[in-house]
């Protein structure tokens, strides 16, 4: 494309004299306007810098659930990919699939096995061992529980996870500034 001197171009293709006069501003204010692109580019650059600063390469491994308010903690570690057991005030889920009722588990003082959870975790373990045949199994599970849950329920979840071979538990928390 040829390089030409910048000049007003708006409405120039209309072959009418009064339009041409109006556009060129003969005696009146011209209607030809330039769009201010430089402030727009400045704004975009600021936006890109802000978004880059909040960019996380690891992505979102677990989703914040509306029914769960997680506790806060300062001395934390990064979350790694593992099965997620979520405990809210009503249900216990494994990767989104309901495995038990929270209230039922909270009422009984005995440390009971949650059989659907054990079966689900064992299935996850078999899948992992099939995909990674040469790697040792880490046995890590993420527990994402509401802050007001009785620890008895969490204990039963941990007991069931240990029964399925998941001895390492990561408690999901909201990270506070150090």
């Amino acid at each position: 494309m040829a390089i030409k001197r910048p000049e007003p171009e708006l409405l120039h293709h209309i072959p009418l004299k009064f339009v041409r006069d109006r556009v060129s501003g003969h005696g009146r204010k011209a209607v030809d306007h330039q769009i201010p692109l430089i402030p727009f580019i400045d704004f975009l650059i600021v936006l890109v810098i802000f978004l880059l600063m909040s960019f996380s390469a690891s992505g979102e491994l677990i989703a914040q659930q509306p029914t769960i308010t997680m506790p806060d903690a300062k001395n934390t570690e990064q979350i790694e990919i593992s099965p997620v057991v979520a405990i809210d005030e009503r249900v216990i889920t494994l990767d989104g699939t309901r495995v038990a009722d929270t209230q039922t588990q909270g009422q009984s003082a005995q440390v009971d096995r949650i059989e659907p959870l054990i079966q689900g975790l064992e299935s996850e373990k078999r899948k992992w061992e099939t995909i990674h045949p040469s790697e040792p199994f880490a046995g890590q599970v993420i527990v994402q529980a509401d802050r007001n849950i009785d620890f008895r329920v969490v204990k039963k979840v941990m007991f069931s996870a240990a029964a399925a071979g998941y001895g390492n538990v990561s408690f999901a928390v909201n990270q506070r500034e150090q």
């Binding site: 909040s54 903690a73 979350i79 390492n168």
Partner: protein, 163 residues
């Protein structure tokens, strides 16, 4: 549109005026904004790791040094914290009254764990043993304080096993 005008170009020479192509630059920036907005993570989620301790389980490894045989235990009871060890040491940290209700004394726990860390400076393992009825948030807070004090190797155990 932005342009660089030098005023030259007359008398048979090639004009050096240049127009800067801003539209592709804006397109690139808009693509960047869309990609970053789509991949943005707004909530800072993290994890506190702990392994599961089975009380009384015999170790299959070689015998550890004498001081490492002592188990350091932080019990979280409904009445407060108890710092104890299998050597018989026990420190009670009762709940404190705050506006008609009792709360866990986290400041006192922080101070006592700091003293414990000085006494057991080679140790970074601690067994956290919450009792039934304790809120999950209180357990996480105690684990957070223990990590801050230097006990980064945390294990979970049933609080009833140590009563």
């Amino acid at each position: 549109m932005a342009a660089i005008e030098t005023g030259g170009g007359g008398s048979g020479k090639k004009a050096v005026n240049q127009e800067i192509p801003l539209i592709p630059f804006i397109d690139l920036l808009l693509c960047c904004v869309m990609f970053l907005l789509a991949t943005a993570v707004w909530n800072q989620l993290a994890a506190m790791n702990a392994n599961q301790q089975v009380p009384g389980q015999a170790s299959t490894e070689d015998a550890p040094p004498e001081d490492e045989k002592v188990k350091l235990i932080l019990q979280i009871r409904n009445s407060g914290y108890v710092l104890g060890s299998s050597a018989g040491e026990s420190i009670d940290i009762e709940k404190r009254a705050v506006a008609d209700q009792k709360e866990f004394d986290t400041d006192e726990l922080q101070a006592k764990l700091g003293q414990w860390k000085q006494a057991w400076d080679k140790r970074d393992d601690l067994i956290v043993a919450p009792e039934d009825g304790v809120r999950y948030e209180d357990v996480i807070r105690a684990m957070d304080i223990a990590s801050a004090a230097g006990f980064i190797n945390l294990s979970m155990a049933d609080g009833a096993a140590f009563l």
